[in-house]
Amino acid sequence: MSYIAYFDLVGTKGFCESPEVYFEKMQHFKKAIEQISWLVREYGTVGVFSDCAYVESSDLKCILDFLVQLRDRLISKGLFFNAVVKSGSLDPQDLKAKGSQHLFGVAFNNSSIADLYIQQTKFKGLGILIDRSIQEEVKETAYTMTDCIFIERRVINNCIEYIPTSYKDISFGCSIKSKKSIEILLRMVLNVMFTSYIKSPKYGTYYVSILSNLVRSYTQGFEWDMKKQKFTSMPLGFQSVNKILSLYYDKMTDLSGLEYLAFVLLDVIYNSQDLNDEEKSSITNSFSNYECIKKYLHSLNSIPENIFTGNNRNLFIKYCQDDLSSDFVEKVLDNNQ
């Protein structure tokens, strides 16, 4: 069995506005692939054309090592790709090998390329989408998968709607471990995200996926102060997204899909071993003030199951009911008000 991946560099159109910037970015892309592709030398091949590439490997670990290292390397240069990896074969054919001097390029003689290509073009996020066909096998490697979301733009009844779609990505925690590197990685992502968002909210939407992965990748170190009703410690990724939602959500309402990140945060909270039930209830209470949470209070069904799992959804409803209903009753029956 073989594994195949296809990816392209996101934001290339934007680089084209300046030939120097385009050249510089393409050089980084080319160099990163040149250096990292050696990882698949024993089990497969990598084919590059301009800002996209195909990979095939008979070893799953190799193709994942390649994709994870390339993802991290590109981010370290402010670049992002969207990749899909699944089972299949490419059967690449070097057209130049036929002896023609006027022709260069690669053709693929296997139909699995079609599925791969379609899936990749539908993936409107940044990262590595792990196809269902290989998820069980990935669990057996050293890599941890995270439940992430990307935002799909669909036209329904002549209206544009932004639909959250869940997918599995590879945790950043597998490769980027030191506190300093995590901090810089976040700064880099937030910086490029905001620049892209300023250019167009549509571009900003791509970053919802990587933010969801960053929140899911680092989930240790929560501490909640019950008296002050605030975190005294939390992972950096969580902290950053929490700040975006509490400080910037009303200023970035045109960045579709940002609100779903609030449920990723809650899901992480409910899964945390660092916090007890009382603390989780108290955190829910503070989160229920977020506009983005209020918006979905009566339509939780529109949140994908993988993002906010069934059990956690029930917990959320229970905490909200307990809190909000007692608040409701108290206020209605309060003679002083």
Binding site: Q35, W38, L39, Q69, D72, R73, S76, S178, K179, S181
Partner: protein, 336 residues
């Protein structure tokens, strides 16, 4: 006039085809992590230099990181003028990859005043500046990745401060300047501070390249309060100015009546006659500094400062100037 200075940091890794899978993984991870640190260091340098503490900026240095495969003979990578080399990672020694760079530096065929080796050791809990036993590099800095940013920022700030005070571009003078910095650290930093900042206590005989800014950069990395950060940067500029007053100033001795002793040794100074007069007018002080602009005019006058020990002595001069101060001579006058 703002000039951008790139200071090349290079990681010359061994021929890829010779590396095993795990080594390849490790090498690639290292390149990514260094890239991240360099990005962050450049960001911090810019923040410090444009944060308002510097009255003008005539040099905005950036670290330019290159990772080059040692066997790439056809590479487009330009590996000349490299100042900082990643010479090792944990148990792996890459020093032999840098032979050509070292040779060029030793032959003085490049315009480089210092060649620094950075040995990244993830087990190192503190940064150490150690002499190179082979005498190839001006210093070997042992550090983990967490502290690498501070080192790069300190080296870059030293460059920026050198240009801030408009010192000479001459290679010999720049090399001498590094030696002065070393002497300054040896003579003015307490042994405890030397150990705390550079992880070593130094002896004057064994000269190393030491970034003077490291003390402030380390302090900055633990300060979150805006005012305290601003104060730390002000302290850094003062420290540098003090150092200049002490070390690179032209020293003149005078007698009780204000006459210059051994005048022939000083006649090469620009505006010598005016300087002689300034000294006469101020000879009531036992020790004083004169800062003489090269374009000395009635409006662009000299500045005379009494020599006060420690931090206060040159600060009035720094805060006085909100614009480009031009080129100048610092003269330290003392009575015999």
């Amino acid at each position: 006039m703002k000039r951008e200075f790139e200071r090349k940091t290079i990681f010359l890794y061994p021929e890829i085809s010779t590396l095993g899978y795990d080594q390849l993984l490790m090498t690639n991870e290292l390149i990514t992590n260094i890239n991240l640190v360099v990005y962050s260091a450049n960001d911090l340098i810019k923040t410090i230099l444009t944060g308002g503490n510097f009255s003008f900026i005539n040099c905005l240095p950036t670290v330019f990181m290159q990772s080059v495969c040692e066997d790439k003979s056809n590479s487009d990578d330009d590996i000349t003028n490299v100042r900082i080399c990643i010479s090792g990672f944990n148990d792996i020694d890459y020093t032999e990859n840098y032979e050509k760079i070292i040779q060029k530096y030793k032959n003085e065929t490049s315009d480089i005043s210092h060649l620094v080796a950075i040995y990244i050791n993830q087990k190192a809990t503190r940064t150490r500046f150690i002499p190179d036993p082979k005498n190839q590099f001006d210093v070997i800095i042992e550090s983990n990745l967490e502290n690498l940013e501070n080192i790069l920022v300190a080296i870059m700030l030293d460059i920026s401060l050198y240009h801030y005070f408009l010192l000479s571009g001459d290679l010999k003078k720049r090399k001498d300047f590094n030696l002065y910095k070393y002497e300054y650290v040896c003579s003015t930093f307490s042994q405890q501070d030397q150990e705390k900042i550079y992880g070593n206590q130094f002896v004057k005989e064994q000269k190393l390249y030491l970034p003077l800014s490291l003390k402030a950069v380390k302090a900055l990395s633990i300060r979150t309060n805006k005012d305290r950060r601003t104060q730390t940067i002000t302290d850094l500029i003062s420290e540098y100015a003090n150092f200049l007053a002490d070390i690179v100033s032209h020293k003149i001795e005078i007698n009780e009546s204000g006459s210059i002793l051994n005048p022939n040794q000083h006649k090469s100074l620009l505006h010598y006659n005016q300087i002689e007069q300034i000294i006469k007018n101020n000879h009531s002080h036992n020790k004083f500094l004169i800062i003489v602009p090269d374009d000395l005019t009635d409006t662009n006058k000299e500045i005379v400062l009494p020599y006060i020990s420690d931090n206060e002595k040159i600060n009035p001069w720094i805060s006085k100037d909100n614009e480009d101060i031009g080129t100048y001579q610092i003269i330290l006058v003392s009575k015999r």
